[in-house]
């Protein structure tokens, strides 16, 4: 498409004149930067989130606006956030990892089995669990990158294989044992002043992914791979290697998340990961509309998890019917993506 904002007059100037015409870039003033940082099209979800907090504070003033509820929202959404952060890495390279929910279930079951049934000590059991996650990630990577099968369908398929494996190990019965109540439970259940360790893990992972995507060459190359793999390849970016590694990373991260979840539940449940599939993708896609205009990013993902989690918790406290939470997630997601679509179109045209 012809860019409509090009400057035809300037385009005809001789090169020397043009060099001078190129504007020097003075640093924007602090106020301008602040205004840009708080612009609605950048962080609209934060405003919606604040609006929701005000709404529920007025609607259910007895139970909603207090510290306990805030902590509950944080604790309840730690796993969703970890899962969403896990899929953010491959999504930034436009690779889907739909198998992550299966990986969460599988590593939880494997670690619970190792500790409860096989008597493996805690640390090696956790290490093995993470290795299982990385292993599934490796299989995904081979199927998607080496065998060149579309990631959406490939990871759906590996997810199905994982589900079979989980049923094989558990016979659909959760693994419970007194041994799971001791040190293993501390991983996820320890809390500091009402906030569980899961929230801390989340913060650490979010900062790590933010650093990766924002401040490393690898992050920039991941985005380039996602936006235009052909151009990236011709510019010397090793596109296949990045896609491969992104799937291994999301496998490993989902594996770790599964262990935290099993610890919080105190058991290895054969359906533990399933409920996180849609919320994680919802948060990642909603997050991509925030802060970075169409780029999947850690900060946006966290904002999205908080927005969705607050709404769902608020609705529950307000005694809204069961279906209201799901409906809320669906409406917010469509509204956010539609709005940013409108924005994108109008800025493109300009």
């Amino acid at each position: 498409m012809t860019p409509l904002t090009s400057v035809p007059e300037a385009a005809t100037e001789p090169p020397t004149a043009r060099a001078e015409a190129a504007p020097a870039t003075p640093g924007p003033s602090r106020a301008a930067r602040l205004a840009h940082g708080l612009a609605f099209d950048r962080v609209g979800a934060v405003y919606v989130w604040l609006g929701i907090i005000v709404l529920f504070s007025l609607w259910v003033p007895e139970t909603f606006p207090n510290l306990a509820t805030a902590k509950q929202i944080l604790n309840a959404n730690a796993i969703t956030a970890l899962a969403a952060l896990a899929v953010t890495i491959p999504l930034s390279a436009r690779v889907f990892d739909l198998s992550f929910a299966g990986v969460i279930t599988l590593t939880g079951v494997v670690v619970a089995h190792l500790i409860a049934k096989d008597g493996v000590p805690l640390v090696p059991a956790i290490a093995l669990g993470v290795l299982v996650g990385l292993g599934i990630g490796l299989i995904n990577a081979v199927v998607v990158v080496v065998m060149r099968i579309d990631s959406f369908i490939a990871t759906l398929a590996t997810g199905s294989l994982i589900a079979a494996l989980v049923t094989m190990v558990t016979k659909e019965v959760p693994i419970t044992d007194a041994k799971l109540g001791a040190a293993f439970a501390n991983i996820g259940q320890t809390n500091v002043d009402g906030v569980t360790l899961g929230v801390l893990y989340c913060a650490v992972v979010a900062v790590a992914i933010w650093y990766l995507l924002e401040h490393t060459a690898t992050g920039r190359r991941l985005y380039a791979t996602g936006f235009n793999p052909d151009a990236a390849r011709l510019a010397g970016v090793r596109v296949d290697r990045l896609r491969f590694l992104s799937l291994v990373a999301s496998g490993g991260l989902a594996g770790a998340t599964g262990i935290v979840l099993a610890s919080m539940l105190g058991s290895g449940s054969p359906t533990a990961g399933t409920p996180y599939l849609l919320p994680a993708f919802a948060a990642a896609f909603l997050g991509a509309t925030q802060l970075k205009h169409g780029r999947f990013n850690a900060g946006g993902t966290i904002i999205a998890v908080l927005l969705l989690g607050t709404g769902v918790t608020g609705l529950a406290l307000a005694n809204a019917p069961q279906w209201a939470g799901d409906m809320f997630v669906g409406v917010v997601l469509i509204a956010a993506l539609a709005l940013t679509g409108v924005q994108r179109r109008s800025t493109r045209a300009g």
Binding site: M1, T2, P3, L4, T5, S6, V7, P8, E9, A10, A11, T12, P14, P15, T16, R18, A19, A21, A22, P23, T25, H215, T216, A217, T218, G219, R220, R221, Y223, A224, F227, N228, D230, A231, A232, R233, L234, A235, G236, V237, G294, R295, R348, A349, G350
Partner: protein, 533 residues
């Protein structure tokens, strides 16, 4: 166009119903101007702070080929998109087709048909399906498609343009000109007779040189049936060969409308650019037959290439020319080691190593490529100018994986200044730049790698005249400063403007080498087409 299955009747789909309105020739040559078939006045369009069109007016006479020319960013696309109902113009515009007023930007009368630059075809489907997607399928009871009728209809529609295509083969396997035929036929389907305008938006942008003539024959065929054609282009030679009148846009304003017979190429070019531009421009480059050889390639085979060998001397600009299918577009990718298919042959950079490498491993030699298709392979549209520029050297900017944003900003500033990239700033989205400036960013991205050799593929595709010369000058200057360049183009003008030595490919082999006095447009074109033609 919406797919309306119910209205499908063969009698209504006669595309040559248009011939009812055959008065074209007399009208074109008649002394009194006929009332225009399409008339637009007072058309303005503002995007944010940019005035893309300012009070533009245009009238198209019955049965004429009316060229619309202008550089990138002159408002051509906006005007076409307003006609096609894609952009709603600012208030105050009036439009009439065949005496009937219509609401510009909101409704598109049936008498206006479009073939957009990307042709709007589904390449995975065959010609028959593509025609039926626009014109409707011949269907019987329960929506069953009557394939036999559909096939006859397709053949009938295409027969008009005298092309022989396998209508059952996906269009992905068809040649560019065949696809263009299908697109034109699809656009003209279901014409209800009466007068109308076919809009062709840069139809030759994707056509190899030898197929342009066939397209012209089709356009004349459309005109001879009484239909007017609005022909958008920025190639002057085409306008003089084909058009009856020409309207020039510059900076969103209609600068002039002239009969083509009353104007010459330099005058038209200066109207477009706003200053005198020489279409016979030759960049100041020196032949360097005695300079040391930088690159040697031998016996290169690929999908099209059948054993090509070449030597490139330091600081020269070696041209690679040829028709589509000759391997001109393949060779640059093979030399740069980024071809996606199986290739064979030997390559070496003698100043670095006397060892020959397999061309399949040429990616390690440090040969940078400016790809042919800027939109698909060059820029990352979602990235800013700076991110596009630094993409090839990210590993160098910073330590231990951390990206040093200050080093990146310095690099970007240095190179945008050096190549004279016109931008609102390094953080501006690349999509806001004109085609020529995007191309400069892609060239800069290659140069920051400090390549042993720069390979340029179709360097001025989709770039307007003014910027074209700026790119010629830029490349000439780089070569004077010691950069070695291989330039492959299907545009003889590019090759003539910049190269001192040209290899002409035919059938995947080097058919001729032209240089010095022997390098003339006539010699080049006849070598490209072969002696037997």
């Amino acid at each position: 166009m919406p797919l309306d299955l119910k209205s499908v009747q063969f009698t209504r789909r006669e595309s040559d119903d248009m011939s009812v309105a055959t008065q074209s020739a007399t009208e074109r040559n008649g002394s009194a101007p006929m009332p225009p078939v399409l008339q637009i006045a007072g058309l303005s369009k503002t995007f944010g702070a940019t005035r893309a069109l300012v009070d533009a007016s245009l009238d198209i006479r019955p049965g004429e080929i009316h060229a619309l020319v202008g550089q990138n960013g002159s408002g051509k696309s906006t005007l076409i998109k307003a006609l096609a109902g894609y952009h709603a113009p600012d208030g105050g515009s009036v439009a009439e087709l065949d005496g009937e007023p219509f609401d510009l930007g909101h409704t598109v009368p049936d008498g206006l048909r479009f073939v957009h630059q990307d042709l709007g075809l589904v390449l995975e489907l065959n010609a028959m399906d593509n025609l039926a997607l626009r014109g409707g399928f011949a269907s019987g009871a329960m929506g069953r498609v009557r394939w036999r009728e559909q096939e006859q209809e397709t053949r009938r529609v295409l027969a008009r343009f005298g092309v022989d295509i396998d209508i059952h083969r996906p269009l992905a396997a068809a040649t560019p000109v065949e696809r263009t035929v299908v697109a034109i036929a699809a656009a003209l389907q279901g014409w209800q007779g009466g007068r109308g305008v076919l809009v062709l938006d840069e139809p030759t942008a994707v056509l190899p040189h030898d197929e342009v003539e066939r397209l012209f024959a089709m356009v004349r065929e459309v005109r001879s049936a009484g239909t007017s054609v609005l022909y958008v282009s920025h190639r002057l030679d085409e306008i003089f060969e084909l058009a009856d009148r020409v309207t020039v846009l510059r900076g969103g304003r209609v600068i002039a409308t002239h009969a083509v017979s009353e104007i010459d190429a330099p005058r038209l070019a200066s109207l477009m650019v706003g200053e005198e531009v020489d279409p016979d421009y030759r960049a100041p480059v020196a032949a360097r037959p005695d300079a040391p050889v930088v690159l040697e390639a031998r016996d290169v085979h690929g999908r099209w290439l059948r054993g090509v060998g070449l030597d490139v001397h330091r600081g020269e600009i070696l041209g690679i020319a040829g028709l589509a299918g000759a391997g001109v577009l393949e060779l640059p990718y093979v030399l740069a080691g980024v071809a996606r298919h199986a290739v064979s042959g030997r390559i070496r950079l003698p100043e670095r190593s006397a060892e020959w490498s397999d061309v399949a491993d040429a990616g390690d030699l440090g040969i940078a490529l400016v790809p042919a298709d800027r939109g698909r392979e060059g820029i990352v549209a979602e990235f800013a100018v700076s991110e596009n520029l630094s993409l090839s050297v990210l590993g160098r900017l910073g330590r231990r994986g951390r990206l040093d944003k200050r080093a990146e900003a310095e690099l970007v500033e240095q190179w945008t200044e050096r190549l004279g990239v016109v931008t609102a700033g390094p953080g501006a989205p690349i999509s806001t730049l004109s085609g020529g400036n995007q191309q400069k960013v892609v060239v800069a991205r290659c140069l920051v790698r400090e390549p042993a050799l720069l390979v340029l593929c179709e360097p001025t595709a989709g770039v307007d005249i003014g910027t074209r010369v700026a790119i010629y000058e830029l490349i000439a200057e780089l070569s004077r400063n010691g950069l070695t360049v291989v330039l492959s183009s299907s545009d003889a003008g590019d090759v003539l403007a910049m190269c001192t030595r040209v290899l002409v490919l035919r059938g995947g082999c080097v058919a001729a080498e032209l240089g010095g006095e022997g390098l003339t447009e006539h010699a080049l074109v006849s070598a490209m087409e072969g002696e037997d033609r």
